[in-house]
Each structure stands twice: as structure tokens, then as C-alpha cells.
């Protein structure tokens, strides 16, 4: 599925990052990140492993604290929110983990019900089941409802992980390496699912990846993260239309692995 132009609202900034710094010990992974993500836009953050891509989205959803700089999500500065305000914000932000992070001890049904029943306590059992069935149909896996995570394939786990975040109807989706460890065909299915999620749920997304096919298929805009900073931003074609050897190398090794 080729990425189509969407009704991105360039006036409405959903996520705004200013001069963000984060280090772990001596490792200064983010060195002054600036980024604006507009409503209903899919932004891909591209970069090599260990460059702090995942750290960036973990800061956005408040899992990690920045050393300095500001991260504003839906008009709220994440770092300054108290516990209940942060919980409120997290209801609007879905996070799809690299290894799916499904709860091993629970079935797919329980995995999906877990955030739902705890955040909408007045829902009846039938309403919960209906919501689970609906979201499973959206990710194309209605038959897995009573399976355990250990019985699912890598691609199915990714889809269920995405379904678990979609069940709360988020406004923002953060995908951490959605195609890592998947075969090319399953990867394309996941890319299509990311686009489908945007169509159906009208989400704004940040997709962290080092997979150029994923970046090309899902991203309206791609930001290249290198040495803790965004080297260049633009569409896929704009990004790689450059003389910069570091960006060219990334393209060559990732796509055709030659030259």
C-alpha cells in the first residue's frame, strides 16, 4: 500500500520537542533534538541501532525523563505532569513495543481487556467483549482471541500489541521498531496496518525504525537521527537526494547492500 497524501493539519502541532538532551552515564544519546509533529502526520525517525530512537519515544510518553529540553504532547509538557495528569495523557498515547510486550500469563482476550477495564470501569462484560472483537477484526486476527501469546507468531504478536493500544482509541501512536525481526512479507503487512490505523483511528504517529521499506511505506516525513541529532528531515525522496555520505551509506546498506 503506497502512502497517500493525508489531511495533515499543518497548523496543529500535536508533539513538539525542543532542545532535548538525554544521556545514560557517559553516553550522551540525544544531543539537542527539535521536532514538530502535526495532526494526522506519520513521522518516521530513522537511524542506526543505539542512536537513541527508542529513548526519544519513551521520553514522549513519560517512561523516561529528559536531562534538559521540553517535550510537549497535546499541549501538555510531559515532564511537568503529575501522576494523574500523566495517566490522563497516556490514555491518548498508544505505544507499540519492539518485542510487543504482551502479558505472557494472559490470553489475547485478557491482554486486550486489561487496559480497557481498568480505564473504563463502568463498562459491562458484553461491551468489553464487543470492543475486543472489534479491535481484533481491525488488526485482522479475530481467531486468536483465546490464544496465549506464546502460541502466536512474531507478526501476530505485533498486531495484538498494536490492537492492545488501539482499544483505548489513542490520538497518538508511537511505534518502536514495528518491523524488527519480521520477514519481508509480514513487514509489509505491518506497514499496511500502520497506514490502516491512521485511516481508521485518525492517529498521529511516530514510527521508530531502521527499515527503509517501512520508512518509505509509512512515513509522510522522515527524520534521520545520527550522533544524537536530526541530520535531515523530509520526504523519503528528499531525504536521500543528498550528497551527505552518511545518509547515502544508510540507504545503500539498508536497501541494496552494495556499492
Amino acid at each position: 500500500m503506497e502512502n497517500k497524501p493525508h489531511d495533515i493539519n499543518k497548523k496543529e502541532v500535536v508533539i513538539s520537542i525542543r532542545d532535548l538532551h538525554k544521556s545514560f552515564g557517559d553516553n550522551h544519546v540525544l544531543q539537542g533534538i527539535n521536532l514538530d509533529v502535526y495532526k494526522r502526520e506519520n513521522v518516521v525517525v530513522l537511524g542506526r541501532s543505539g542512536t537513541g530512537k527508542s529513548v526519544l519515544i519513551k521520553i514522549i510518553c513519560g517512561l523516561l525523563k529528559p536531562d534538559s529540553g521540553t517535550v510537549t504532547v497535546l499541549g501538555k509538557e510531559v515532564d511537568r505532569l503529575n501522576e494523574s495528569e500523566l495517566r490522563e495523557l497516556r490514555l491518548k498515547v498508544g505505544f507499540s513495543f519492539q518485542n510487543s510486550a504482551l502479558y505472557d500469563s494472559m490470553s489475547v482476550r485478557e491482554n486486550l481487556a486489561f487496559p480497557l477495564v481498568r480505564n473504563s470501569r463502568n463498562m459491562s462484560q458484553q461491551e468489553v467483549t464487543k470492543a475486543i472483537e472489534s479491535v481484533l477484526a481491525n488488526v485482522g486476527l479475530p481467531q486468536t482471541i483465546d490464544q496465549m501469546p506464546s502460541e502466536l507468531s512474531g507478526g501476530q504478536r505485533k498486531r495484538i500489541g498494536i490492537a492492545r493500544t488501539l482499544i483505548l482509541n489513542p490520538e497518538i501512536m508511537l511505534y518502536d521498531e514495528p518491523t524488527a525481526g519480521l520477514d519481508p512479507i509480514t513487514s509489509i503487512e505491518i506497514n499496511n496496518l500502520i497506514n490502516l490505523v491512521r485511516e481508521k483511528f485518525h492517529t498521529t504517529s511516530i514510527i521508530i525504525t531502521h527499515d527503509l521499506t517501512c520508512a518509505k511505506n509509512t512515513g509522510d516525513r522522515i527524520a534521520m537521527l545520527l550522533d544524537g541529532k536530526f541530520l535531515k528531515q523530509g520526504t523519503f525522496e528528499e531525504l536521500f537526494d543528498t550528497e551527505d555520505e552518511r545518509i547515502q551509506n544508510f540507504y545503500n546498506y539498508n536497501f541494496i547492500n552494495q556499492k
Binding site: D26, F95, Q98, A101, R118, T165
Partner: protein, 273 residues
Amino acid sequence: MDLILNANEADMNFKKSGKYLITKKIDSFFLHLYAAFQFILRFFKEVFRPPFEFKEIIRQCYEVGYKSLALITLTGFVTGLVFTKQSRPSLSEFGASSWLPSLVAIAIIRALAPLVTALIAAGKVGSNIGAELGSMKVSEQIDAMEVSAVNPFKFLVVSRVVATTLMIPMLMCYTGAVAMLGAYINVHQNEATSFISFFQQAFDKISFLDIFSSLIKSIVYGFTIGIVGCYKGYNATNGTEGVGKAANASVVVSMFLVFVEEILIVQITNSIR
């Protein structure tokens, strides 16, 4: 929330600044102690705050209590039987084998039942909690709960600690009963004492304080085993290696603390007696 819940993060901050107040090891020890204290404090804050995870507490009670029954039955029975068998020759030397029921009852109810239950639970339940939460931590399942606006501390930690604090005293009572049964079988075989007269003699020397202090002890042990397992699991790092370390540390630290608490509570009880 500026509480240091993760001692590893605190360690990293120190490493970053490169400055230590005393030495690296001493600083790290106090940081971990502080983090553990904050963890316990958070437990007491969360345990009384709704919403309550009753279903999960009951599931954990089943895991901690019911699933330990087989092991506890065997251990309790053997402890009672063997303790009686080994004590008989010494008492017989003084012609005092009729004191066996009361001696055994005092030993079992005052010391053996709480201690044996706690050590078995530290090995079985503590390691289980440490490994389970540790693997949830390193596979980002705890983070997944957090980002889906669910309080993982309440669901994972509070339910487990409440379950161990409730179930270990119950298991202790059960261990005591099974151990006394083991003792009775041995006494009955050798002295042909009847069931009623054995228990009459046994409970003759047991006071309310003995039972009460054992109950208090096992509540403290239950809380210790639960909180140590959860703390170690919740702060696990470094993949599968970290999970192993968390499970191991849960057992070692909780056993160590159980013995320290035993000494303290025995001193307090003896000063009251």
C-alpha cells in the same frame, strides 16, 4: 514524582557526575537502601488507595497459598516427626520422655513452624515473584502497563505483597498442625499415647503469647518475602541474566532478613514473657 524507585538510575547519576560522597560501594549501598525504603513507602501509599485489584489478590493468594501446600505438608510433617524422634533419646536419658509432647509443641509453635514456613516460602514464592516480575521488567511488560495508563505497582506489587502477608501466616498455622501430627504419630508409635492426651499435654505448656508472637512473626516474614521479591524483580536489568539475579537475590535477601527478624522478635517476645 521525584522518588528514587530505581537504584540503578541513582547509580548511573552518580557515575555520570563522577563524584562520590564516601566511596562508590558505600554510596551505592545507601542509595539502594533508600530506594528500597521508598519502595516500601509506596506500597503503604498504594495499598489503601482505590481502585483495588481484588481479583488479582485472590489469584495471588491461590498461587502463594494453595500451590505451596504439597511442599509445606511434606516439610512440616517430616520436621515434626524427625524432631520428635531425635529428641527422644536425650529426654529418655533423664527419664523425661513423657515431656516429649510439650517440648515438641513449644519448639514447633514458637520457632519451627514460622521459620520452616518462611524459609520454604522464600525459596518457592520469593524466587517465583522475583523471576516473574524480573522477566516482565526486562521484556517491557511493566512499561507496557504504565503506558496504557494502568498502575503496574498496584497490579503487580501490591497484590503479591498482600497475598504473601495474608497467606504465609495461614501456611504457618497449617505447618504447625501437620508438624504436630507428625510428632503425634511418632509418640503414639513409641509410647502408645492417645490423640487427646498427646494434644492435652502439648497445649498445656503453650500460652497465648506463643501463638500470638508466631502469628506476628509470620506476618512480618510474609511481608518481607513479598516485598523483597517484588523489589528485586521490579528493578531487574540486563535481560535474562538480570532475571536470574533477581530470582536469586529475592531468596538470599529474604532468607537473611527472615533470620534477622527472628532474632529481633524473639528478643522482644522474651522481654514481654
